[in-house]
Structures are given as C-alpha cells and as structure tokens.
Symmetry: C2
Subunit: 451 residues, 2 copies
C-alpha cells in the first residue's frame, strides 16, 4: 500500500519544532494514519497534539472510533474544544456529543453560534441509527437559473464547507427539493451550459426516520455517493454520504454475526478489548442457553427405563441433535441475512414457510437415506436404522421450519431477527427432536423387540 | 423514498411509441429501477428493450445481478451487442465476459478496437476477487503544469468516459503515479490556482494482487471515493470505486455468514432461487457433519456399561454439548469476523490463545458454579454436581481455545477461516467434551458410588 510518507517520522519532527512547513506536510497525511501513529506514540500526546492545526484536530476526532472520540477530545482545553467543534461536520459533532454526559454536551452546544446549535439540537432528536441520526446538514444548495460557470464560481465560495459536493441540490425558496445535479455532469459540461439541462428531477431521497439498514439498501441498490434526506413535504434536511454507509454496513453485519453466535454487543476491536469485558460479552447468553438446555435433561429422564435397557439409543442422540441444530441454523441464517439485505420481508412468511417445507423434505430424505444405510451396515439392525432415520427426517423438517419462521415472527414483533439464530434454534430443536426420537424409539424400536 | 417517477408508466409509454421525448425522460430514471420494473414486466422484453437508447442498455446490464447479466445480454442481436459493449465500463465488461463461455467471450472481444480489447484481456488475467479484478481502467490522468481552469476544460472533454472523477491522477510520461488531486479541491479553488498547490503526493494505493477484502479495509479506514491501483513500479493501472466496494463488503459478509452456518455458496436472492438449488446448497455440509457426528456415538458406546447403570449421566449430555458448541462458536465467530475486518492477523496467534484461555477460565468458572447449584438443588447429589460442573468447566476451556485457534490456523494454511465456524467447532468440541465428561463420570462419580 504505497504509503510513502512516514507518519511516525513526522510525529518525531513535530516534537522537535512546529514550523509552518511541517504543518503543511500534515495536509498530505490522512487523519486515519495519524490516529494509528498516535496509538503507538509513547510521549505526551497532549503536548504533541497542541502543535497540530485545528482543522487536523477536528479531522482526527471525526475519524476516531466512537469509543475513543471522547477521550481524545478531553485532552484539550475548553478554549481549544470550542475551536475544534467549529471545524467539525454536523453529523460527526452529533456523534461526539452523544458520547458525553448531557451537561457537558449542552455546555459545548452553547459555544456554537445560535443557528449551528439549533441544527445540532435538531439532529440529536433523531435516533442515532436512522437516516436523520447519520445525516449531515452541510450540503450545497443551488438555484436552477445558474450556468455551469456560475455554479463553479459558487462552489469556489460555498463548496468548502459541505460534507460532500458530489451532488448539488436544487431548492426553491421554501427549501423544497426540486431536483439534483451531479457534480460530474457540471464539470464535464461546457461553461455556458444551463443547469436546467443537467437537473434530474426524479430524485431518490429518504425520510429522516428510515433506519440505517434501510438507507444502506438504497446505497447498495443505486451506488450513489450521497442521498438527500427530506421531510414529508420534500423539504431538504441533510445528506447521508457513502463513506458513512460503508461503516453502517460493516457495523450491521458485525452486529448480526455477533447475535447469531450468542454474543452481547461489544464496541471496540478484539485485540484492544480487555479480558473481563470480552468475558462479560459472552457469559449472559451462555448462562441463558445452558439453563434452557437443561430442559433436554428432563426429557431424557422421562425415558430412563428405555435408555437403561437400550444404551445404543443414547449413542444417536448427539448426532440427531447436531444435525437438527445445523439444519435449523442454515435456515435461520439465510432468512436473517435475507431480511438484513432487504431481500425478504415479513409479508413473505407463507412463501418462506412453503419453500422451507419443500427443502426440508428433500434434505430430510437425503440425510435419512444415508443414515439408514450407515446404521444398517454398522449395527445390522433394521428397526434401529428405521427409528433413527425416521427421527432424523422429522428433526430436519422441524428444524428448518422452526429455523425459518422464528426470525420472521421476531421481525413482525419488532424484535431483531438475528436473535433467533443458531443458539436459540438449536436449543428449541434439541428438545423437540429428543421427544420425537425417544417416542419413535419407544413405539417402533422397543415395541418391535418386545413382541 | 421519494421516487416520483412511475417507472411502469414509462415502460407502458415505451410500448406505445418511441419518441425522443420518452427517451430523454429515461435519462432521469436510475437503471436499477428499470431492472426492477423489467422483472415484473409481462410483455415482450426484447421488443421493449429495442426501444431503449444504447447507453441505457449498457447501464442496465452493468447494474444487473451477475446471474442475470448474461441472460439480459442474450436478448440482443450481435450488432446491438457490439454497440452495447462499447458503452460499458471496463470492469463491468469483464464481469459480463466472465459469465460467458470462452468462445463467445473472445468473439465479443474481437469486436472491440485493439487497444480496448487488450485492456480487457489484461483485466481478465487478474483473479476476479482482487483489486485487479474489480478495478476499472477509465480514470482521468492530468499533468501538474495545469491550472484549475485548464483542468476543468480538460474534464469537459475527457471526463465523460471515466468511471469516477472524484480524484484526478497526476502521472508522468511513463504513467508513473506522482500524486492525486481531489475534484473537490479543484472546484472549490479559483480558476487561476495551479494544480501543483492542490496535489497530494502521499498517495494511498493498492497493488492489483491485493484481495478485495484487503481493498475494503482501505476504504473502511480512509473513507475514499476511489483508490488507485498501481504495479510494483508505481505505474498506474486503474481505479477501484467505493460503490464497487459496498457490493464487495455485502458479498464478503454474506459469504462469511453462509460459511458459518454450513451453507455452500449460492448466488442469487432467496426468494428467486429454486427449491432444489437451495436444497443443494445445504445437503453437502449437513451430510458431512452428520457423518462426523456419528463419531460421538462410538464414544458413547465405549461407556455403555456406565450409562446403563446410571442413566442420569445421559441426561446431562445435551446440555454439555450445547454449551460447548455455543462457547466455541462465540470464540470462532469473533476471531473470524476480526480477521475479515482486518483487526486480527495470523501473527496474533499467541495473544489470542492467551486471551481466550483467560476468558474461558472466567466464563467456565461462572457457568460451572451456576450449574453446580442447579444440579445440587434438583438432584441433591454432591458428586454428580461436581462431575457435571467439572466437565462443563473443561468443555468451555477446550471449546474456546479450539474455537479461536482453528480459524487462525486455517488462515495460516491459506484456507478460508470462515470454514472453521460453529458447525465444525461444535462437531469437534462435542466429541472432546463427551470424552472428558464420561471419563470424569467413571473416575469421580461412579468410583465414589462404588466405594
């Protein structure tokens, strides 16, 4: 990765002096690289950071992980804090304020000019995981009577502050969104072109209440660099940009994967998180599932006599449970992921049910057939093979229908479908498959032997 | 989602006639929406599409799912195909060609002019899941002696063709990358500004062999709109754009999630995939795991006598297996996801091992303690509680170390770590925990009773 500038070398230079030259050199380094270097820096971070220009400090806090923002920000004096927040984009400032206690946050808001403070307060009213919560209010608004040359001159004055200028938004005097012009079309058209010929009036926008997963579906479908957020009257409120959405998509996928593995949510990277915090992330669900699983013990005790006489029956319990768990988690995983990607909706309940039923019959027959021959070959016991394969067949059907239906039901109940993943499904399917198996054993295998 | 234009209405109009006006209206509609409407369209798609302008057809094929690209493309005559591919971006054309049989692909390549054909052949040599495989060769190269006004005029002529113009690349006469200029900086600077003052020479670039997951880490870290791909001599080869990367991130997350749930890879959305194809995706791994799990049956049969005499021992097997499986999959999931996000590398083997060992001791003690009291209360059997809790403690430790180490070992062996997820871990941990449990039962529980 052709990173030609040695960031650590630069930090070292900064320690020595703080000439304009070095500050200019800083402009060529991405703040993400400075954060990496700061992590390893062993000197006095406060002193070092005091030599950075304000814009760079704002960029560093914007780039930092949510966990570290507050800590970094606290390194500065009250005076410097005010300068920094004046340089920050509105969406990033909201993220920072959300890591603080309310009193400190309102202290900081007071240092902003009234209009900006109002903007931030408005933004903080939206849920952080909605379009409103991740949007920035800094966008470029233009009017449609301009030419390309006038637009470019306008951008020279007003473009600097915007979060993204990939699209310019045509608003009327009531701030109602009339259309959108791609910067790309502006710069590839001759100076005398009228903006009206470049406007796309068929604007794809989102409402501020749309959850961020829904916003990510729009980006995945259309590949936009940014999307406008408008209220019910089509009044322009802000923009969501693609780089924010990449973070959202990674975060949402990680959230889902964590839930699917019975892990509580945990901010921060594995290597930098302490052992106790990581243990805490895991204990609750393990305890919950352990206690739920003891229910299977009660079922087994109910068939104590059968199992004491025919221990061979116990030998198949782990295989049945594992296969049921795997078959169920396949279905729940596909449905959970399909819903996360916006491919499956709660209204598809019956289509999914029917499909999973057919699939489970195909899969169940295949597994039961292979299992039948395996048991026959190793145990030369026709009734045993029939009992185990029969239980396997019904276990697969049960596992797949339960595994596919529970996530959809969860979504209907406004619970996160990812909760209904492998661990829960396995616990439920285990108990059901044991009941099926031990009943088949009692009524087919043992009653045949007794005759 | 303020989609104000009715796409279906437009398709209907297109059926009626094909005036210039309607074709112009098409410009305002995103090809992704046209694809959606075409999916539901019941008339003659070939006839309808014949009325679309060529650029729109190229955009539709570019936007279509990989599975559908070939099918859509085959609707056109040989002549029209040639026109369409001339309008397509290089990276998209490569994707299309890769869905065809080699003969047809080389037929199509011949219709391109020599230079373009060579570009495409070069691109097709890279693995489709590397930077080289997803890059486009259409970027804007400039020289550093230009002013802003000259650059803008240059873009008016040469900007149209580029895949992205968010960054302009400063190359020397040998095509060596010297620096990068953000379009944003160009349009927010006055016309007489010299490009030299806007150049960032500390360019972050990728090599064509870097796998796409590695490329996505660069985008996630820096939030770029595009990244240049350069060879070892820093010669500029192409660019990878953020919208391609969003697709990559979604695809890689889905791949990992599928593997973690023992699902074979399957292109295409759940609802539009046939029952047999979905069943096929699941059968192989279920069969493999079912047969592996029968190993646990052999272990149980080895303790037939103990289990026949003390059926109560069998009652705890499902709980132990489930807890082991869940504890192991927590660890493997965190490590697999951490590696996918670039947070954990294979060289962190020992740190991870040490951390998981400590975590598993904490978690193991907590679970064993709760379990001890539970067994004690329900069975009033001190030795039984000790045996089950002891087995539980060692099972958790084993599960977490095996669960965390196998994905890292897989990565070292150049196998996808996601293979080493819950299902495989569960199968291994099941067998190990049974051996621990039944041995503890034999040597602690039963020998105490016999005395």
């Amino acid at each position: 990765m052709g990173q030609e500038f040695d960031v650590k070398e630069l930090l070292h230079l900064l320690e020595e002096n703080s000439t304009e030259e070095i500050k200019n050199a800083l402009d060529d380094i991405h703040p993400a690289d400075i954060i990496d270097a700061l992590d390893d820096y062993e000197g006095d971070r406060t002193l070092l950071l005091s030599r950075f220009p304000i814009e760079m400090l704002a960029a560093i806090i914007e780039e930092a992980e949510d966990d570290d923002k507050g800590e970094l920000f606290d390194l500065f004096s009250k005076e410097k804090k005010k300068e920094i927040i004046n340089e920050m984009a509105s969406d990033e400032l909201v993220d920072l304020l959300e890591t603080m206690d309310p009193e400190e946050a309102s202290d900081i808001l007071e240092s902003l000019d009234e209009e900006d403070a109002q903007d931030i307060k408005d933004l903080m009213r939206y849920h952080p995981e909605t379009a409103g919560g991740i949007m920035a209010t800094e966008f470029v608004a233009i009017i449609d009577s301009m030419t390309v040359e006038e637009t470019l001159k306008y951008l020279q004055v007003h473009g600097e502050e915007a979060e993204s200028i990939s699209y310019l938004y045509v608003l009327n005097q009531d701030e109602i969104l009339q259309g959108v012009v791609a910067l790309r079309d502006v710069v590839t058209s001759s100076f005398d072109t009228h903006i009206t010929t470049l406007i796309n009036t068929n604007v794809i926008s989102v409402e501020p209440g749309l959850d961020q997963e829904g916003v990510s579906h729009i980006f995945a479908k259309y590949g936009f660099a940014s999307v406008p957020v408008v209220d019910k009257n089509n009044r322009m409120l802000g923009i969501v940009t693609a780089d924010d959405i990449l973070d959202v998509v990674l975060e949402e996928s990680t959230d889902d994967i964590e839930k699917m593995a019975a892990l509580a949510h945990n901010e921060g990277e594995y290597l930098s998180t302490g052992v106790f915090k990581l243990a805490k992330q895991r204990i609750f669900w393990l305890l919950f599932l352990m206690i739920s699983a003891t229910f299977t013990g009660v079922i087994i005790q109910g068939y104590e006599q059968e199992l004491a006489s025919f221990v061979i029956l116990a030998a198949f319990i782990p295989m049945l449970m594992d296969t049921g768990g795997n078959a169920g988690s396949q279905s729940s995983t596909l449905i959970i992921r399909g819903m996360a990607l916006g491919e499956i909706a709660a209204r598809d309940f019956f289509i999914v049910f029917y499909k999973e039923l057919l699939i489970s019959i195909i899969v169940g027959v295949a597994l039961a057939a292979v299992n039948f021959f395996r048991v026959w070959i190793f145990h030369h016991d026709y009734m045993l093979a029939l009992t185990v394969s029969g239980a396997l067949f019904f276990t697969v059907i049960l596992a797949k229908t339960v595994g596919s239906m529970l996530p959809i039901i969860a979504r209907k109940l406004k619970i996160d479908p990812a909760i209904m993943a492998a661990p829960i499904i396995t616990t439920i399917v285990d108990a059901l498959s044991l009941v099926i198996y031990l009943n088949l054993a009692r009524h087919i295998y043992i009653s045949a032997l007794v005759k």
